[in-house]
């Protein structure tokens, strides 16, 4: 696993091993804030930023904890670091982009409990990635997450105008759309040397 090239990792995490559509990480914002592209895209970027920060800190933390033989504290340390990173992003967005802050609402602080962020930290530890691999994995994951969010949001914007049976409206429709998207992404399987 640890010998994957950076290019392979990047391609895998964006396409064939997409965080949302293949690994089911970060489902809450995926189902919750994909009403319109103008909200989905900034949230994707914010999450990408947090993912990269989390990945960097997780790599350093893992090294320090490994030196001190305190591996059982790993999970607690990761989650505390992620919560602080999210707090940072929240303050920055609130100060510089107030309208965006209002549009994202509860989903901005909820990045803390976004499995994609913690997922990156845990998977890179489990797969023994080195420093460059971790960063690539994080960037690829973030880009893949943003891509999935924007794709679903644009599909949902179109479906708004369609005449859908009443029983199918709401979550059912979103899940079906997500399923079709996921089916499409399966076409990338094998790209980048398999997940």
């Amino acid at each position: 696993m640890a010998r994957e090239s950076l290019w392979q990792i990047l391609l895998t995490t964006i396409l064939s091993g997409n965080f949302v559509l293949a690994m089911f990480l970060g489902m809450c914002p995926f189902l919750g804030v994909t009403h319109s592209v103008s909200v989905a895209f900034p949230l994707g970027l914010a999450t990408t930023f947090v993912i990269v920060i989390a990945s960097l800190s997780a790599y350093l933390l893992n090294w320090v904890l490994g030196l001190a033989h305190l591996e059982f504290l790993r999970l607690i340390c990761y989650i505390v670091v992620i919560a602080s990173a999210v707090q940072l992003v929240e303050m920055y967005v609130k100060k510089n982009y107030p309208p965006l802050f209002r549009a994202l609402g509860i989903y901005l602080p909820l990045i803390t409990t976004n499995c994609a962020v913690l997922g990156v930290a845990l998977f890179q530890t489990a797969r023994d990635y080195d420093f460059m691999q971790s960063i690539t994995f994080a960037i690829g994951g973030g880009v893949g997450f943003t891509l999935a969010l924007v794709l679903l949001a644009s599909v949902r914007e179109r479906v708004e105008l369609a005449d859908v049976p009443e029983s199918v409206q709401g979550t059912v429709l979103v899940l079906m759309l997500a399923g079709v998207l996921s089916l499409a992404f399966m076409g990338f399987a094998g790209l980048g040397g398999g997940a």
């Binding site: 607690i76 913690l118 979550t171 059912v172 079906m176 399923g179």
Partner: protein, 229 residues
Amino acid sequence: MSESSPLLAPPSTWEEFTEGLWKRNPVFVMVLGMCPTLAVTVSAVNSLSMGVATTFVLAASCFLVSALRKLIPKEVRIATYIVIIATFVTVTDYAIQAISLDLYEALGAYIQLIVANCLVLGRAEAHAARNPPLAATMNAIGMGLGFTLSLVMIGGVREILGAGAFFGFSLFGPNFQPWVVMVLPPGGFFVMAGWLLLFSIVRRRAQMRAQENERARAAAETSGACHGA
């Protein structure tokens, strides 16, 4: 406990317990905790173990949060809950690793991802922080069992269609051609959508029947009133 519940009192322990099982099922009604719901439900066994692990974490964290609810300052409550939850998840992680290594490998990082399950933090914040330990724990166990139930429902369907088996027992003999896509990621979305669609149709039917009954009763009443006059 349930017999002595007076009318108009706060919900009894029994009601706390049954609430999460079906009426406010965490997956199908509240749509919480979607990541593990879709990711690990490739087989009924995986779903059941994930459900049990989550139930344990949920019950233990809700008990502790509820017991400490007067000591935790408001400003740092979310951070405190997360640390409590992370502690129990670490315990669960090590316990599963000790019990079955196969299972541990099948569930992988998703056990540790219970920390980021919105269901757990949501219940801690919305219920456990406002209720005494007994009620909070019962509610958490109910929610956990409801979560387990829905996971097994999704996992069962996916395993039957995608592998032709249920809890590992082959159902259709060797000639069965498995519908492989059901155990792949898209299958998770489709099966979940299928269950939700089924429930929404059933709910609409029930509503329409109730409305019709209402109308029939109203018509009977007005005609009765006319006769009376």
